[in-house]
Amino acid sequence: MDVGQRLTDQNFPESPEKATLEGKNKFLGFWLFLGGETVLFATLFGTYLGLRNSFGKGPEASEIFQLPIVFIATMILLTSSLTSVYAVLALKENRVKAMRGWFFVTLLLGVAFLGLEIYEFVHYVHEGHTFTSGAFGSAFYTLVGFHGGHVLFGVLWIAALLVRNSGRGLTLYNSPKYYLFALYWHFVDVVWVFIFTVVYLMGKVG
């Protein structure tokens, strides 16, 4: 069967994302990539934890962190993880519309998260907590910013996928792409779980 051919309910495989060798390769390669990303973020977290009390000329963490915003952001991201799970479930049943819909919701939630984060950063900068105000500031913006960058990349990625495949059904060629995005998105959420725990909550109690 041609990998570019639209899948029907009749020939729909158990796991369309892993049905071809290319799909299997992508699937495994992406997981391994996430293993590497774990080390990448660990290095950022380690650096942050090493510097989290070195405020330099900036204000202290407990003075500035805004837990309500962070809480909302967390809820948004968790929900977006759920919607991408729904999308993958739909993918596995060849329900293209539903899948695209859920991914679209995921995208919107991602954008909302980014909006909140930008709002939050602007607020902090006004309080004197900047990238250059001390080692803590540098470490904070680098860690949280790297995560934000990942969210942004995810948003662009899924947007591109949705646009490119609009009007096209699932194929053995594009299923792995959707699936990989969902994995990525979960991973970004995992990182966030640690950010709100280690950065914000622990920062609040010093």
Binding site: G4, G36, G50
Partner: protein, 619 residues
């Protein structure tokens, strides 16, 4: 044939767009080889300056630049790419695969490495090279004036990204694309080492990536990670660098171990002694490699508890490494050892590497390292393991696989001259350095006074370096002579044991006409002993799926190269630099987008064409 459209494009275009792992291997080899000459030239300059006391050939900052570029070039731009050259050229063949898992990514990885290397070396012409040592310890590196260290950070960041892709590619290739019957415990040892090395790359390079970002932010965007006055902490960089750095040295040496294992067994006409122990030792070395980095930091002040733990952990690595050494010796034991040039290099490797290894264990005795650290004793240690280990291993691999990669065989007479001059020159250069270190000569010194009596040993060392230069030049001549003659050899000139020798010369671009069926370790040897002409196929002849060539990797890497240049000058060149950054990243993103936008299903070579090409093969 549906790739006919490619045929009428120029040769250059073909090389720029190729996604064939065999060609990418050659690209890696040529660029890595070139950078080896550059790094070697830098080494020569170092040795000339240190030839006698109080020389003024290269002083102060200039010396530091040469030193930094020597270390950096050799490790990142010479050794790593040559290793990747072999991994590309050999691993898919050894496991009976038609290709690597991600041909496009493979090409992208190469071009990123290449442009990163070019960017780094551009610094010579743009105001001075990095000068803070290959380890770039902060805050020296953050305070270093000029743009040298910016080139270091961005050049290596870009080439490092390429390396990471390569690592993932080979992991997936080895896991997913083995031929039927090629179980893990039947894989040739070189493939095993490539596998473990790729794993180390996957987990070590991300730490370095972040390290480079932090350094870049401190230098370019006034962050304060390493600035003590603003609460920063310089030790963080040291940890991050060595969390990457120590695994890196095993990334380098493991493939060399793999090469030695192949070569020694082939020329002894024996199977590798203790194969399972060798595999286990490889994995164990890889694992322990992550637990010992602080042995580079014994004098940093981590305290006696940490020092003791890391000292003992480091010593433990001697055990699996010893297993390898003895297994090689016992592979030769009882064999019919033929000392071709390839085997000479392998055989020369064994005692030399052991000498470097045991000085490593001496260094691992933490308090004794208070004396050795940052002295020429360390320089002697790591050149013994790197030049005496890795480089001899790579030479061995080159002489061994040259017929597979290029279809011609390097000249054996010149090869032997190459070996002996290089080998003797090597010992002459680095053996005296042990004593220099013990006599109190610190490393990274551009000069030393007469009164310290360090002159004569340094002089011997420099003479040795000239010996290595002669060896290298003979090697270059050998290549020229060989290709000028251009005598083709058969596909299996060494009476090989593994799958890469199971196909005709030159290697068809789809590798195996039919995927082979693997029936045990040393798959080809088994068939030969069973009296078969070649491998037993695992499938009938059929259409072969191939990936399309693409120029995107080249353009994308060029984009990041431009962005890198922009970042380097963002604080001094203003608008043009900003344009370069945005433009460069833009180019990169557009390429990524195009890659995702344009459906690329590859093409098929049809059965009929295959049959026409391979007359006489029964389907």
């Amino acid at each position: 044939m549906s790739n006919a459209h490619a045929a009428n494009k120029s040769v250059l275009w073909d090389w720029l767009t190729t996604v064939d792992h065999k060609k990418i291997g050659i690209l890696y080899l040529i660029s890595g080889g070139f950078f080896f000459l550059v790094g070697g030239l830098e080494a020569l300059l170092i040795r000339i300056q240190l030839m006698g006391p109080e020389m003024t050939f290269l002083t102060g900052d200039l010396y530091n630049q040469v030193l930094t570029m020597h270390g950096t070039t050799m490790i990142f731009l010479a050794a790593m790419p040559i290793i990747f050259a072999f991994m590309n050229a050999v691993v898919p063949l050894q496991i009976g695969a038609r290709d690597v898992a991600f041909p496009f990514l493979n090409s992208l990885g190469f071009w990123l490495f290449f442009f990163g290397g070019v960017l780094l070396n551009l610094s010579w012409f743009l105001g001075g090279a990095p000068d803070a040592g290959w380890t770039a310890y902060a805050p020296l590196s953050t305070q270093s004036s000029g743009h040298g260290v910016d080139f270091y950070v961005l050049g290596l960041q870009i080439s490092g990204a390429g390396t990471l892709m390569g690592g993932i590619n080979f992991l997936v290739t080895i896991i997913n694309m083995r031929a039927p019957g090629m179980t893990f415990m039947r894989m040739p040892l070189f493939t095993w080492t490539a596998f473990v090395t790729s794993g180390l790359i996957l987990f070590a390079f991300p730490a370095l990536t972040i390290g480079f970002f932090l350094l870049m932010f401190d230098r370019i965007f006034e962050a304060n990670f390493f600035d003590a006055n603003m609460g920063g902490n310089a030790i963080i960089w040291e940890h991050i660098f060595w969390i990457f750095g120590h695994p890196e040295v095993y990334i380098l040496i493991l493939p060399a171990f793999g090469i030695i294992s192949e070569v020694v067994a082939t020329f002894a006409k024996k199977r590798l002694f203790g194969y399972s122990a060798m595999v286990f030792a490889t994995v164990l070395i890889g694992f322990l490699g992550f637990m010992v980095w602080a042995h580079h930091m014994f004098t940093v002040g981590l305290g006696p508890v940490a020092n003791s733990i890391f000292a003992v952990a480091t010593m433990a690595i001697a055990i699996p490494t010893g297993v390898k050494i003895f297994n090689w010796i016992f592979t030769m034991w009882g064999g019919r050892n033929r000392f071709t040039t390839a085997n000479l290099f392998s055989v020369g490797f064994i005692p030399t590497f052991v000498m470097g290894g045991v000085t490593g264990v001496m260094l691992a005795a933490a308090p004794a390292d208070y004396q050795y650290h940052d002295s020429y004793f360390v320089v002697a240690h790591f050149h013994y393991v790197i030049v005496g280990g890795l480089i001899l291993g790579l030479f061995s691999g080159l002489y061994y696989w040259y017929p597979r990669m290029f279809g011609v065989m390097l000249n054996e007479t010149l090869g032997k001259w190459n070996f002996w001059t290089f080998f003797i020159g090597f010992h002459l250069t680095f053996f005296p350095q042990h004593f220099l270190g013990l006599m109190g000569m610190p490393r990274r010194y551009f000069t030393y006074p007469e009164e310290f009596q360090l002159g004569s040993l340094n002089f011997i060392s420099t003479i040795g370096a000239i010996g290595m230069t002669v060896g290298t030049i003979i090697f270059v001549i050998n290549i020229i002579v060989t290709h000028a003659k251009g005598e083709k050899v058969s596909g299996d000139p060494w009476d090989g044991r593994t799958l890469e020798w199971a196909m005709p010369n030159p290697t068809p671009h789809y590798n195996f006409l039919q995927t082979p069926l693997v029936r045990g370790l040393d798959a080809l040897w088994i068939e030969k002993m069973a009296g078969n002409k070649g491998m037993t196929p695992a499938e009938p002849i059929g259409d072969i799926h191939m990936p399309n060539n693409s120029i995107l990797p080249f353009v994308m890497s060029l984009g990041f190269f431009i962005a890198g240049l922009g970042f380097i000058y963002i604080n001094t060149a203003g608008l043009p630099a900003l344009i370069a950054v945005i433009g460069g990243i833009g180019i990169g993103l557009v390429c990524m987008f195009l890659r995702s936008w344009i459906d690329d299903h590859g093409y098929h070579i049809h059965k009929e064409d295959l049959l026409k090409e391979n007359k006489g093969v029964d389907a």
